[in-house]
């Protein structure tokens, strides 16, 4: 072994170590080029070493291996430089490869450039290798020189005006200079016998390694794998033992007097033990330098994943997230924003609750848009370089700047951005590392799944508990809540108020179901805001609300219910262009322990109180008391008595208006009112209904005010067009009556009096029992009077003929149950035929 034998061994070890290290890295084009270059260097250095050691099979073999490395060094080096600079020209590269391969093969068979050295033994310096250079060696040198020139040109061109690339290329350039200088030094006598060329190769490799590292092309910790440690410790052990075996053998045999075989065994055992020790020490040492931080991160991430997998509570998840980030990465502040119902991202958790106020990132915020399109995390400094930054508002920029936000981590599950984490700067202005970013990305992906599940669960839970339209508790959860409230308050008191909207069906008929829904929402809002945190509100039925009031007595519960009712009554006072019907409520109040002893009793008593109010005139709140069902009169009736007399003047004014235009319609309306009223009475309806039918009869043709007189009084048949105009009188009637909320209860009868039992009528084409009963009554009365009266376009019809038509049309135009009742009433003289 020559005296500087350790240099090629170290070089070889470095190349092999780097090669295996990069074998584990993600292979980009540049890394692949670097690995090819390392391989070429391994051939060069390894071949040279084996040749000098005269290993098997022969010096000549190892010489050619080494020469293969040397020949391919220029073109692989150029390949690396071109890939590093992303230069895609292939001509030079291919030329170099073909030329050097050809030259190598030529030299292999002819030795034209550099034949294998002759081995001279027995000199003072041991074995010597004598090379016999011939002039053609200049050719490959010249080509290599050209390639070197091209490389330097590429490097300088790349650096021009590009400071960043210049910085990255500086170590490569330094490596080339060192490699070149190393080879030049071979000619200086001072370095004679010293493998300066090999040593310069090692430096060059490390400079290239640094260049790749500064270009962030691999992760340093990737180099520390178990296999790398095995290889490194094995190589170090081999080198150590290769040098020390003769000494140790001598020492064992001579000083310790061991036999040959025992000495060999002892040395082998020592070799094995020291290799293991070396491996362990190396692994620990490297772990401490590079991997400890990563291990801590992995451990924290594992704990965090475990914690969030156990809960569906979003607050717990976000709290764990803040904890794990704080524990692993040193940051001053953390803010977590979660998407709300409007698609905006609001702060749900932070390390500084005082900063939270009303900050939100709008759905169209450029950062949100960016994170939706990309995965992982985003550095503010990088975002500032995107076009998205240009659309940020000054106030948004200011806010993020104020909080010194430096990093955003997306909580993204597939395509959905559930939320984002904003991290402020790190202490001492240190920047976020590659490992920090990887860790945050991992936390982000674990959290996003947990947040999504938690939000879905919360949404489903809320949906299951709440009424969709009003957002109040639904009937099912009402029973759960009242039970819970009872359990919690049975030692004190628990009141229940049930509020039922009066005449809500009519309201829907008047203004449509959509308006009805809006009214329900408004009522719910009023109740919710009045009850506030003092109790719970549920939509107990379609038009019924329940107020669960823990620790309320009867007096305060009734006051609250009356307060709600009076607010609801004012609801439609100023709404829209015309006054809408005022909504009133009938309410019942009951409380434990005063008038009920358990939940069931509480609910049924409150229900009973509502029923009593409904029966005694509606629009009131009643407190349940014993025997109340029988004493409806105790209701605190707020509603003034509705009667025909109250509205008589209005109805008279309206009918008088039509009289001025069309006298026939006026008398017809009076007749219809009479017939319809009597039919209602004959059919067994109560007085209130009879009054309504009469009022509807008087008003049913009021819309004819809007029809031209020439159509109204036209002798003969109407044209199709005129008939269409005539038909509009029904809608006109409604249009007039709906402006009079006090008379709106007649609308169902008026709107349906031209509907046919078989569904072929107008305006709504409804059929059978869907047509309100009063409308069906009005229809018969209207038609009968029309048949037997004289009209501008026809003479009067005999009553018998009219009966025949009624019977004929029973089940078609008319209600088949009402027709016989009406005919009997006329025949019996109960209904008298009107005169004129």
């Amino acid at each position: 072994m020559y005296s500087f034998g350790w240099i090629p061994i170290t070089a070889l070890f470095c190349y092999v170590f780097l090669f295996f290290a990069f074998a584990a890295a993600k292979k980009t084009k540049v890394i692949k080029s670097f690995m090819v270059l390392l391989m070429v260097m391994v051939l060069w250095t390894g071949g040279s070493l084996a040749m000098r050691l005269q290993l098997w099979p022969s010096v000549e073999f190892w010489y050619h291996v080494s020469l293969l490395g040397v020949f391919f060094l220029p073109c692989t080096f150029m390949g690396f430089i071109m890939d590093f600079l992303d230069i895609r020209k292939k001509a030079c590269r291919i030329f170099g490869q073909v030329f050097f391969l050809g030259s190598y093969i030529l030299n292999l068979f002819t030795g034209i450039f550099l034949p294998p050295p002759s081995v001279v033994e027995g000199s003072a310096k041991g074995v010597q290798f004598v090379y016999d250079f011939s002039w053609p060696i200049i050719i490959p040198f010249a080509v290599a020189g050209c390639l070197l020139g091209i490389m330097v040109y590429y490097i300088f061109r790349g650096c021009k005006g590009n400071m960043v690339l210049k910085k990255q290329l500086t170590p490569i350039l330094a490596g080339i200079v060192i490699l070149f200088t190393g080879h030049m030094c071979l000619m200086i006598p001072f370095f004679k016998g010293f493998p300066i060329d090999v040593l310069s190769g090692v430096f060059n490799a490390f400079f290239m390694f640094y260049a790749l590292y500064s270009k962030r092309l691999f992760k340093l910790t990737l180099l520390i794998s178990r296999w790398n440690c095995y290889i490194a410790s094995a190589v170090i052990s081999i080198v150590l033992f290769y040098q020390s075996i003769p000494v140790m053998g001598k020492f064992a045999r001579e000083s310790l007097k061991m036999s040959e075989s025992v000495a060999i065994m002892a040395i082998a055992a020592l070799y094995m033990i020291s290799t293991i020790v070396l491996y362990t020490v190396m692994k620990r040492f490297l772990d401490n330098i590079f991997v400890r931080e990563e291990l801590v991160q992995t451990e924290n991430l594992k704990e965090f994943s475990h914690a969030v997998s156990k809960t569906l509570d979003i607050d717990e998840i976000l709290a764990s997230m803040v904890d794990v980030i704080r524990k692993t990465i040193e940051v001053n502040k953390i803010y977590i924003c979660i998407e709300d119902l409007n698609g905006n991202y609001v702060i749900k958790r932070s390390t500084s609750p005082l900063d939270e106020n009303s900050f939100l990132l709008r759905a169209d915020h450029p950062i949100i848009q960016y994170l939706k399109k990309t995965d992982g995390s985003l550095m503010m400094k990088d975002f500032k370089r995107t076009i998205g930054y240009k659309s940020m508002w000054e106030s948004e920029k200011r806010q993020l700047q104020e909080w010194r936000i430096e990093c955003f981590v997306a909580l993204k599950d597939e395509e959905d951005l559930e939320g984002l984490v904003m991290l402020s700067e790190k202490p001492r202005h240190s920047s976020f590392t590659y490992d920090d970013m990887s860790f945050l990305t991992s936390v982000g992906s674990v959290s996003s799944m947990a947040v999504k599940n938690s939000r879905l669960y919360e949404k489903a839970y809320e949906e299951a508990r709440k009424d969709e339209l009003t957002g109040l508790l639904n009937r099912k959860s009402f029973y759960e809540v009242i039970e819970e409230a009872y359990e919690a308050n049975k030692e004190s008191s628990l009141a229940l108020a049930i509020l039922n909207i009066d005449d809500f069906k009519l309201y829907n008929q008047l203004y449509g179901a959509a308006e009805g829904d809006i009214a329900l929402q408004k009522i719910a809002q009023i109740i919710k805001s009045t009850v506030g945190e003092n109790g719970y509100v549920a939509r107990y039925g379609g038009k019924e609300f329940a107020l669960i009031l823990p620790r309320f007595d009867l007096y305060s519960a009734r006051n609250l219910a009356e307060n709600v009712c009076s607010q609801i009554k004012e609801l439609n006072r100023y709404s829209g262009e015309y006054s809408m019907k005022a909504l009133t409520m009938s309410g019942g109040v009951c409380a434990i322990p005063y008038t009920a002893s358990n939940v069931q009793e509480l609910i049924s008593n409150a229900d009973l109180a509502v029923y009593t109010v409904k029966r005694s005139g509606k629009n009131a709140v009643m407190v349940y008391s014993e025997g109340q069902a029988k004493r409806g009169e105790e209701a605190t009736a707020l509603r003034s008595k509705s009667s025909y007399n109250e509205y008589a003047s209005t109805i008279y004014a309206l009918t008088a208006a039509i009289d001025t235009k069309d006298h026939y319609t006026f008398s017809h309306s009076k007749n219809v009112a009479y017939y319809a009223g009597e039919l209602a009475r004959g059919f067994g309806m109560n007085d209130e209904c009879i009054d309504i039918v009469k009022e509807a009869g008087l008003l049913h043709d009021i819309g004819k005010i809007g029809i031209q007189e020439d159509i109204l009084n036209k002798p003969g048949k109407l044209t199709a067009e005129e008939y269409e105009i005539m038909k509009t009188h029904v809608e006109n009637s409604i249009g007039i009556i709906r402006h009079l909320p006090s008379l709106d209860y007649v609308i169902p009868a008026v709107i349906g009096h031209h509907e046919r039992y078989d569904g072929k009528g107008y305006p709504r084409r409804i059929a059978g029992e869907d047509i309100p009963l009063m409308a069906r009554i009005l229809c018969i009365a209207d038609s009968f009077d029309a048949m037997i009266s004289v009209r501008s376009y026809k003479a009067s019809m005999p009553v018998e003929r009219a009966f025949a038509i009624l019977e004929e049309e029973a089940g078609k135009q008319f209600d088949p149950k009402l027709v016989p009742v009406f005919i009997n009433l006329v025949k019996s003289g109960t209904i008298k035929i009107a005169e004129g």
């Binding site: 021009k160 005006g161 590009n162 400071m163 960043v164 690339l165 910085k167 169209d364 450029p366 500032k384 370089r385 995107t386 076009i387 240009k390 659309s391 508002w393 000054e394 106030s395």
Partner: protein, 542 residues
């Protein structure tokens, strides 16, 4: 981080993305940025004193409402509030006020407030212009803090004076001569000093109004000629050896080619930018002189820096974050000129059509004072994107000022009011006139006034074309300082007079029921009027 630090820390592609990334936008993305920033501005402007006065206290809630509620405005709408420089009525606190002349206005100057945010945007867009000026392809540029810039622009408080201030914040580029010295110098002193310093240090960038850069470039040869005479050798001490070598080689080459020395013989510009109007008249000549085609940028006092050409020098693109742009189609603009009460409708960037001309309407973003402001410039949409450049947003070219303003070489803006004043002051017996902007055989702009003299006075006073020209020229200089500068700086006297036969205007009026517009009337009206004079007897009879 300053731009020059970014040059060291950030890759070229990232810098390109940061400053020139807007060129990659689709029209939809462009509009998204525009609309988002307008929403911010609507909020700021609507609540400001200016906004409250124009909107009468109403606040628009969306962009359609904003366009419906805010009328198209001119400086007249803001004058009484802005000329007082009253911060409290503005949407945001201004950092500085930029000034310009108010053509035909009731006050000699107009002022516009610039907020911090506007200046930041201005700076970024200006840096994008610089990058593009040095680029020959997408993603490539060549800027260095060691470079030198020759600039031919007015100092602060004029908008052009912002350039050295803003550029100085980002890069240590050396201005030739230094800004502080230049402010105290006359225009020609500044040029001489700039070139002298350039001979010693080199010139990498050149920026100025198109007309001024042309004049400066032409004067270089003259300066060289004079310096080669007496005292030539004494000045050699200020020339760097590199430049000396170039000068010697250039002289040899010029002698060989029998031509004058041109700037391109001495300097290798990295970037050449020009602004202002009439640049198209000078671009070819400037390219010949410097060996590099100037890149046009679009900036103004009220709108800030709003657009730039790219490496292809083939049409400009608007920056998405400087202003919200609306466009009045040419037909609508003409209709409005004929009937000032007519409210023209506007189009947005995603509604413009290639080949059409539009008057620009801007709403300055980032706390600016102007909303739906008629800048007075006309652009032509050259196309939607450009395959060569890989762009997808509309591409425009600058046409000229609106027809009622005659802008000569970016220096002076002549209106009906200024010509009327000059005519009145001159005391010349001019009965009627109209004026239009024309270009001479060298493609340089000129102001052509057609006059009809008062009948009967031609005998009693000398009123030749030369007399009228000289008279009006004198009074133009009197009423318009910029016109004086035109002569002083560019050596231009761009006035051309044509005397029309007496009775031409009267005849035209009686035949067509009205007179033609006095400034830049439509071409067909001009030819009808010119034909009319042949059918009029000198005494006015047919």
């Amino acid at each position: 981080m300053r731009f020059q630090d970014k040059l060291r820390e950030v890759s070229q592609s990232e810098l390109w993305e940061e400053y020139c990334g807007f060129l990659e936008l689709t029209v939809e993305e462009f509009m998204k940025i525009q609309k988002r920033l307008l929403r911010e501005q609507m909020e700021l402007w609507g609540k400001s004193g200016i906004g409250r006065r124009i909107l009468g206290g109403r606040i628009p809630e969306n962009i359609d409402e904003f366009r419906r509620m805010v009328p198209l405005t001119t400086y007249e709408d803001y004058a009484d509030m802005l000329l007082q420089k009253e911060d409290s009525v503005l949407p945001a606190k201004p950092i500085l006020w930029i000034q310009t002349t108010w053509e035909g206005g009731r006050h000699p100057i107009k002022v516009a407030p610039y907020t911090k945010s506007m200046l930041d945007t201005y700076k970024d867009n200006m840096m994008a212009c610089f990058m593009l000026a040095t680029s020959s392809q997408k993603g490539q540029f060549d800027l260095s803090p060691r470079d030198h810039m020759l600039y031919a622009l007015a100092p602060l408080p004029y908008a052009t004076g912002l350039l050295p201030v803003l550029l100085g914040e980002e890069m240590d580029v050396e201005f030739l001569p230094p800004v502080k010295e230049a402010e105290k110098m006359s225009f020609s002193e500044r040029n001489k000093k700039g070139f002298k310093m350039g001979m010693g240090k080199g010139i990498e960038y050149f920026f100025g109004l198109g007309s001024v850069t042309y004049f400066v470039s032409r004067s270089l040869a003259a300066m060289q000629k004079s310096s080669s005479g007496k005292g030539g050798l004494s000045k050699l001490s200020s020339i760097s050896p590199k430049m000396l070598l170039r000068l010697i080689r250039a002289r040899g080459r010029c002698k060989e080619e029998n031509r004058e020395l041109m700037p391109k013989d001495l300097f290798q510009l990295k970037g050449f930018m020009c602004a202002g109007t009439d640049n198209k008249c000078y671009k070819d000549d400037l390219e010949k002189l410097w060996g590099i085609r100037p890149m046009e940028i679009f900036a103004g006092t009220e709108p800030t820096c709003i657009g730039t050409e790219t490496w292809s020098r083939n049409g400009m693109y608007f920056f998405p974050d400087a202003c919200f742009y609306e466009f009045i189609p040419e037909r609508e603009m003409e209709r409005n000129l004929a009937d000032p009460l007519y409210v023209p409708h506007t189009l947005l960037m995603d509604e413009v059509s290639p080949g059409e001309k539009y008057e620009l309407v801007i709403t300055v973003l980032k706390g600016g004072a102007f909303a739906r402001y008629r800048v007075g410039d006309v652009y032509r949409c050259e196309g939607i994107g450009n395959k060569e450049e890989g762009t997808r947003i509309p591409r425009f070219s600058y046409v000229d000022r609106i027809p009622t303003i005659i802008d000569i070489a970016g220096f002076t803006r002549i209106t009906e009011h200024s010509i009327s004043s000059a005519v009145k002051l001159s005391g010349l017996a001019i009965e009627e006139w109209f004026a239009q902007k024309e270009f001479n055989e060298e493609n340089h702009p000129l102001l052509h006034i057609y006059v009809e003299l008062k009948r009967g006075q031609m005998i009693s006073s000398a009123v030749s074309v030369q007399v009228i020209r000289d008279h009006l020229s004198v009074y133009f200089k009197y009423v318009d300082q910029d016109y004086t500068d035109l002569k002083k700086i560019l050596g231009m006297d761009p006035l051309k007079i044509t005397i029309l036969k007496t009775g031409t205007f009267q005849n035209y009026e009686s035949k067509f029921g009205g007179l033609l517009r006095r400034i830049n009337p439509p071409e067909y009206e001009v030819s009808r009027l010119l034909q009319e004079q042949f059918s009029v007897a000198p005494d006015g009879r047919y």
